[in-house]
Symmetry: none
Subunit: 198 residues, 4 copies
Amino acid sequence: MISSARPLRADAARNRELLLAAAEEEFAARGIDASIADIADRAGVAKATVFSHFASKEELIAAIVGNHFAELTVVARRLLTSADPEAALSDFLTEAAHGIKQQDLTFLRADDDSRVTELRNDLHEAVSALVDRARAAGVVRAEITGTDVFLLICAPVHIAGCHPDADPDLWRRYQAIIFDGLRPTRAELLPQPPPSWP
Amino acid sequence: MISSARPLRADAARNRELLLAAAEEEFAARGIDASIADIADRAGVAKATVFSHFASKEELIAAIVGNHFAELTVVARRLLTSADPEAALSDFLTEAAHGIKQQDLTFLRADDDSRVTELRNDLHEAVSALVDRARAAGVVRAEITGTDVFLLICAPVHIAGCHPDADPDLWRRYQAIIFDGLRPTRAELLPQPPPSWP
Amino acid sequence: MISSARPLRADAARNRELLLAAAEEEFAARGIDASIADIADRAGVAKATVFSHFASKEELIAAIVGNHFAELTVVARRLLTSADPEAALSDFLTEAAHGIKQQDLTFLRADDDSRVTELRNDLHEAVSALVDRARAAGVVRAEITGTDVFLLICAPVHIAGCHPDADPDLWRRYQAIIFDGLRPTRAELLPQPPPSWP
Amino acid sequence: MISSARPLRADAARNRELLLAAAEEEFAARGIDASIADIADRAGVAKATVFSHFASKEELIAAIVGNHFAELTVVARRLLTSADPEAALSDFLTEAAHGIKQQDLTFLRADDDSRVTELRNDLHEAVSALVDRARAAGVVRAEITGTDVFLLICAPVHIAGCHPDADPDLWRRYQAIIFDGLRPTRAELLPQPPPSWP
DNA sequence: TATGAATGAGCCTTCATTCAT
DNA sequence: AATGAATGAAGGCTCATTCAT
């Protein structure tokens, strides 16, 4: 999202943005096997230009995933200052779902890219703060951790994506169900201890 | 699982079974990009033999997915005859999760294979019966449909798979959360109407 | 030269031979950067066929170099049984020169391929025997070792190759000069100790 | 080395020199496939700057080779005025060897660059003068020509380079052997007539 | 002149699939 | 039915070179 090191020339910056957008669409449409050639085509640049911005396909993916994490972190931090802890958590999940183009950001899983790992941990931390506040306010079960919610971020979109012909807003239904499952209504303990975070 | 059309020779039937098993493992380990060569190696046959059993990679995948659907249908039908409607639904989700090798059976989504579609619809029907019974017994919300539960089958495993280093049983935690979200505790309506099924 | 492990099908063996020949010519003509595509074209097979015979370009080169070493070893061992030690050594260098297509077998240098290393050491040993016999017969200086002659094998062809428009037999001239340099005429010591061999 | 046509600005001249040095090192280290990018990096300039000095990679190589020829010509002419004809020829070969960074200046062979051809012919002429004097003094065989020695210049370094782990001075050994081969000890005629020079 | 960026051509390699035995 | 071999179609990546600033 925000380039930090070098202040790219205007045209290069534009191409970089075009490429990231094209890549995201292509990955969403074709999965992680989308070809660099198709991404370049969609962005309207030559194949080699992709590699002048991102040294490898892996690095391109890392940039996209990193951006997602960074954006979501911003959202989470902003909502942390809002008045209503319940609405804050709910709104976070809602805003997050909007950013998840179709099913394929499954690759939110670990890549051995240190920058991505760092950004992911930042997000994890911001989400945890949101969850802590919600728990303190009694709107989620005592046992629910930030890690739980972090893992659940993609679930509604993923679930809706299993439908062969889903309404674009179907994920809202499953988000509501999951959110209800997080509420402190039930007394029984959850079957597994909360997962730790590396 | 059950061959119907042609009476394969004994050794050919055995090879077919070996291939299906090898393919499933390989797909689970390497994702949908697992190569036919690796699958053949693991099954101990020549690459070309794969194509004498399955006309294409797509068909091989269809066979695996179809088998999964068929197995789950058997499970759902069996549980339909059990005494406790709540336990039946819960047990179904649990047994289903066991069959889902890691995250990659996301390809439960539509393939334009008529046999698979049929088997998927069979499963959908069996699950719906299970859900109808549970709903009638008041253990799930009135609005929850069989389609909802069908779409949720993979979710727990998928969610746990988002953790970089998850306990193999972590999915149980998220299954419990989702199951709680299905319960008729809350009065509010879910945000989206239940999805229809084609 | 001699395949040992599996008794390749007839057509495959033919293609392998075609490929080795085509590769050798192409490497001779274009240097080590000759492309696999050109080699495949020259052999009249598809590009992918090259890789079904040799897992990588490196392996193809190793096969060629290995064959050269093996052939020369055979020559050296045969000449070891001839009557005249001087003629034997001289003939070896002559026969060797015939096998060196143009300048580029400079890659007789080490590749980290264990089989090639082994074959190279075999040749080194055979040449050393030839040199030992020649030295004992007083036809080469006392200080000349097998390693010296091994290193000199390619020199005549290389030297002639420096001429922009050389007669195809020009290397014979430089081989004679070098051979004369090896003779025990002069009393002075050579400036460097004989190189060791790993 | 000596620019003749255009009076380069001081910094441009410096960059040109930096580039030539960097290119020579890079070619020596990585062979003729050294990339322009690496050369530019080593020289501390941008890639495009290389092309503002040399229109193509070929031209860059031609400049390097041309410089080598020019330098060696200077050496040969200087030694032509020394007292001892034998030492002069020997010293020439020795000084030449120093300038040949590893094996890869094999590209002393013909390039269709007229300036390089001219410089090469200058060197050929200077070497021939040296050889004529040596022959007249009876220190080389009657049949040895300047062309012979010209072709032999690179041989010692090349031969030593065939050793997988050579002492940096090993070429001296083979230079001595070759030089001995040039001496008028033997009466037999060399097998090929002396090559003509275009 | 120097450079950051862009690019077309080409390279090695992989893979699903076909063919002949 | 099973297989060893062959292959066309990509795919990721590199590089010399060009272009605009």
